[in-house]
């Protein structure tokens, strides 16, 4: 493992430092948005469509208005002149992409169950929900479009003004002739059709907000349970036509996000509009069943993948074709999410010919958007299922087919056929470590034994090797993808007069422990105690610049910005120390928080002292500005490419179809690690979410478009009893794209685990001739697969 640069004789990075965030979360002191006290606040509640698709004939709000304590009731018609712009979509993926205008409240028609049609303000939360219940909306129901393939036919067009249900067709076809040649010369061609079911992200804290206007100054402070305070602020300004200088957005403690809070939501815009209208503070807290309808869903794709391989099982070409469910409207990043996987359908294999096509389609369901992994879990699933299909067809062990196809170590940096440059990788030892850890050959033996005994218990072993592109993102690459923002991150590092350090970051953590890790980075670089470093974030008036937290970007982009800013501070400190010690800057050494003159133990100056000198400015080099602080805005030169191998072992009961996940091994390579304890936590949580997708979770709609899984009683988020302990390991292949050699870890577990589990399930059932089971692999589906003729 190459080390992160340090000035500390006792390295801080790489240690399992306990999180400074924890005490207040553990004692109930932490303030989530619903915990914030506010006097004289109005409670907002929303009338939502109970049907999937309808014309709004009339809305009768008279009964609601008559309730004591109701302050206002508004429909889409009442407010429509107040929106400057429709709800924002920041990713116009093709020049002709179709994007239906979508406002915080529906005006004439509703297009999914949960679409907002009216809003109530009341003095009390209970009164507000009573008022919502008393509002009568007359709908003329229209036939909904719920199925992707049916949507593509345009037999029923959801948004008549668009003339089609196809939002866009996006293709990446670097060399079709080469691809055709690969397929025509192939000894083996395997095809898979896989359904990526819709998922409900289900952060344990639903969304919520509190907006506090200062009527006299015209300023607004919005506290929102969001991952993106900075982006939200800009989007509110643009959508509502309010000067950005009047808007402050604060993300207090946020109870998980997983992409679902990476959005600009109707409720945020509504609350802003109504706070402006009434001059009063407004509070809204989403209920769980509302969250299932009104917060974006994830996944929702039908994938077709074809692999062409030569007689040795070497993959020559890959063709991937997706239908992607946008839901009823495009939210902030909806159309771009499937494309984030579009470059990775060849996984970590050296494949010369490639094509990818994605058709984005509207349906009468909740809009989809980013959910942990966003596009990359889907890509990984398709290729890893594909590799198993190929191995099965050729009668080769799944580990062996992967070995034969890995991008070899010597080929890094590797230019992939879809056009990425993989920064670094060393896949083979990673796979071997995982196989060894799980006891692969022993498990195969055990499987053989059970099979030869005709046991009703079926053992399955599933491999998944993954690579992901994360660290969103080089701004120029985002430009080429038509994304309407950059991918940089900002940081300020400031030495306070007392020698303590203040770090201001543009990242917006919601469980990732940034305060702890960022302090470690600075402490290491400055050779000081991390307790002397304070980290400020998630408040646009404290941290005015930033692009927030998603896409496993915070460390490799935001952490790098902090690392660089710390370096600048150190450079300036060196100038000051040299000036005061009357030596040349090059003659100084820096270690453990002290500058000393090389070869002399007497001539020394502590960093704290330098900070004080910078503050008093009594004796600085001529022309030097007072105070010791630096800002860096880091735009990464490339994505980072973490990788790893996950192996799931399942036991299936032939009589019931029950699957038990009995063992799970994950060996991940996320480059250098700042805090291995936090890294492991991220992986474990991601694995659990991916297992949830593989075995339990699905947003189910009935044939009229009613969501049947709107509570946690119906939508099966895994509990502790459904999961085993995870056995983790690491390899370390630093990224050359940033000075700390870090890669990012937030999504890895969730990317790797669904194919590992499904490959294990299919492996267990292979004796029944089962080739695939769609997710979630429920006992019912498994039983049916076993008992099919």
């Amino acid at each position: 493992m190459t080390a992160v640069e340090t000035s500390s004789s006792e390295r801080v990075t790489g240690q399992r430092l306990l999180r400074r965030e924890d005490p207040e979360l553990l004692t109930g002191e932490a303030k989530f948005v619903d915990d914030l006290a506010q006097q004289d606040v109005l409670h907002m509640a929303i009338v939502r469509s109970p049907v999937a698709r309808a014309k709004i004939i009339s809305i009768d709000t008279s009964a609601a208005r008559a309730i004591d304590g109701v302050v206002g009731v508004y429909t889409g018609r009442d407010l429509k002149d107040l929106w400057q712009q429709p709800m924002p979509c920041a990713w116009v993926v093709t020049p002709d992409m179709k994007n239906p205008a979508h406002f915080p409240l529906a005006v004439d028609s509703v297009n999914y169950m949960g679409d907002a049609v009216a809003v109530v303000l009341a003095n009390d939360k209970v009164i507000a929900s009573d008022a919502v219940a008393s509002i009568e909306v007359e709908y003329e129901e229209l036939p909904p479009v719920l199925d992707l393939e049916e949507s593509a036919t345009d037999k029923v067009v959801i948004h008549p003004e668009l003339g089609t249900n196809t939002s866009y067709v996006w293709a990446l076809e670097p060399d079709n002739a080469k691809l055709e040649a690969a397929f025509s010369s192939a000894a083996h061609v395997v095809k898979g059709r896989f359904v990526q079911q819709r998922l409900i992200p289900s952060a344990m804290e639903p969304r919520g907000l509190l907006i506090v206007p200062q009527p006299y100054g015209g300023e607004y402070t919005l506290y929102s349970s969001t991952q993106i305070p900075h982006i939200l602020k800009i989007m509110i300004a643009v959508t509502l036509g309010i000067s950005e200088s009047k808007i402050r957005v604060v993300a207090p403690s946020v109870g998980g996000g997983f992409g679902s809070k990476l959005n600009v939501y109707a409720e945020e815009l509504l609350a802003f509009t109504l706070a402006k209208k009434t001059g009063k503070p407004i509070r809204w807290m989403e209920e769980r069943s509302e969250n299932a309808l009104a917060t974006v869903h994830g996944r929702g794709q039908i994938q077709e993948i074809e692999l062409a391989a030569d007689s040795d099982g070497k993959v020559l070409g890959i063709r991937a074709n997706l239908l992607a469910d946008m839901g009823a409207y495009l939210q902030l990043l909806t159309p771009g999410v499937p494309l984030l996987g579009g470059f990775l359908y060849h996984g970590l294999y050296d494949v010369a010919a490639y094509s990818f096509k994605c058709t984005g389609l509207f349906t009468n369901k909740t809009p989809t958007d980013a959910y942990r992994g966003a596009g990359r879990p889907e890509a990984t699933f398709a290729i890893e299922r594909g590799m198993d299909l190929l191995a099965h067809e050729m009668g080769i062990d799944p580990a062996e087919i992967r070995r034969r196809n890995f991008i070899p170590k010597e080929k890094f940096p590797y230019s992939s056929s879809p056009g990425l440059v993989f920064d670094s990788g060393n896949y083979l030892p990673n796979l071997e470590m995982a196989l060894e850890k799980v006891g692969y050959s022993k498990l195969r033996e055990e499987q053989f034994q059970l099979r030869s005994q005709n046991s009703k218990k079926h053992l399955g072993i599933g491999l998944s090797c993954y690579v992901e592109m994360c660290g969103l993102a080089p701004s120029k690459v985002l430009a080429s993808l038509n994304y309407s923002a950059g991918g940089w991150e900002a940081a300020t590092v400031r030495l306070l007069p007392t020698g303590k350090v203040q770090v201001v970051t543009g990242t917006a953590p919601h469980g990732q422990g940034h305060e702890t890790s960022w302090a470690m980075i600075v402490a290491d670089r400055l050779g000081i105690n991390p307790d002397d470093v304070e980290v400020l974030h998630s408040d646009t008036s404290i941290s005015p610049h930033g692009l927030d937290t998603y896409g496993s970007r915070s460390l490799s982009v935001g952490g790098t910005a902090i690392f660089m800013a710390t370096g600048k501070v150190l450079d300036k400190a060196r100038q000051i120390a040299a000036h005061q010690l009357e030596v040349a800057p090059e003659d100084l050494e820096y270690q453990d928080g002290n500058f000393s003159v090389k070869g002399s133990s007497e001539k020394k100056m502590a960093l704290g002292q330098v900070a004080f000198e910078a503050f008093t400015a009594h004796n600085l080099p001529d022309g030097m500005e007072p105070t010791l602080e630096a800002t860096t805005t880091w735009d990464p030169p490339n994505f980072t490419f973490p990788f790893g191998t996950h192996i799931a072992v399942v036991e299936i009961d032939e009589d019931t179809g029950d699957v038990k996940l009995v063992k799970y091994v994950a060996v991940d390579d996320v480059g250098n690690q700042i805090n291995p304890m936090i890294v492991e936590g991220q992986i474990e949580g991601g694995i659990a979410q991916g297992v949830g997708q593989a075995l339990f979770e699905e947003a189910i709609y009935d044939e009229s478009g009613n969501l049947l899984t709107s509570t946690l009683a119906e939508y099966l988020v895994p509990s502790a009893t459904e999961l085993p302990n995870f056995e983790l390991g690491s390899t370390f292949t630093p990224s050359p794209s940033n000075p700390m050699g870090v890669k990012g870890v937030g999504e890895a577990g969730c990317i790797a685990s669904p194919p590992a589990v499904i490959n294990a399930v299919v492996d267990a059932l292979s004796t029944f001739g089962v080739k695939h089971i769609d997710m979630p692999a429920s006992p019912e589906k498994i039983w049916n697969a076993i008992h099919q003729d």
């Binding site: 999180r19 924890d22 979360l25 109930g28 989530f32 619903d34 804290e205 469980g511 936590g681 009683a713």
Partner: protein, 156 residues
């Protein structure tokens, strides 16, 4: 209706509506906001508190049912000498990420370890079945509870 409760050792007498849930009494009337709400079907356990020492989901109990009873919330766990051993074990074993499920997990663990001071891993998992966490994958939560058991004298 008037109710009297003892919460974290302090007595309270308050006026509540018959339909007020215990969790809303705790959060909105007493302003003890450490207890969280994560669902509307008593599925998540984020609202778990101790009622006379036993864990209950406070969204399934009416405030009036707590009349005359003793309640402990997450705010009542730490003492002047510092974090409760369960809280400490959660920090030391990284048993929390966003922290939203954490108060409920800690309270559920407290009641469970009282009943079963030296549990197995499987028993811990079963005991926490009604408490959902979306961040940690439970691995470190289970580890935390086992470590707390050890610390509190129940190690196996």
């Amino acid at each position: 209706m008037q109710i009297s409760t003892t919460v974290n050792g302090l007595s309270h007498t308050n006026e509540v509506e018959a339909r007020t849930l215990l969790v809303h009494y705790i959060r909105d009337v007493l302003r003890l906001t450490g207890t969280n709400v994560g669902c509307d079907t008593s599925s998540c356990g984020a609202c778990t508190v101790l009622l006379n020492g036993e864990s209950v989901k406070s969204c399934t109990v009416l405030a009036v049912q707590a009349d005359g009873q003793e309640i402990t919330t997450i705010e009542g766990m730490a003492s002047e000498s510092g974090l409760h051993p369960i809280q400490k074990a959660f920090q030391e074993n990284h048993g929390l990420q966003c922290g939203y499920c954490t108060p409920g997990m800690v309270m559920a663990a407290a009641s469970f370890l009282h009943e079963n001071p030296s549990p197995t891993e499987k028993e811990v998992r079963e005991a926490l079945e009604g408490n959902l966490c979306r961040c940690t994958g439970y691995h470190n939560i289970v580890k935390s509870v086992l470590a707390a058991a050890g610390e509190m004298g129940g190690a196996r």
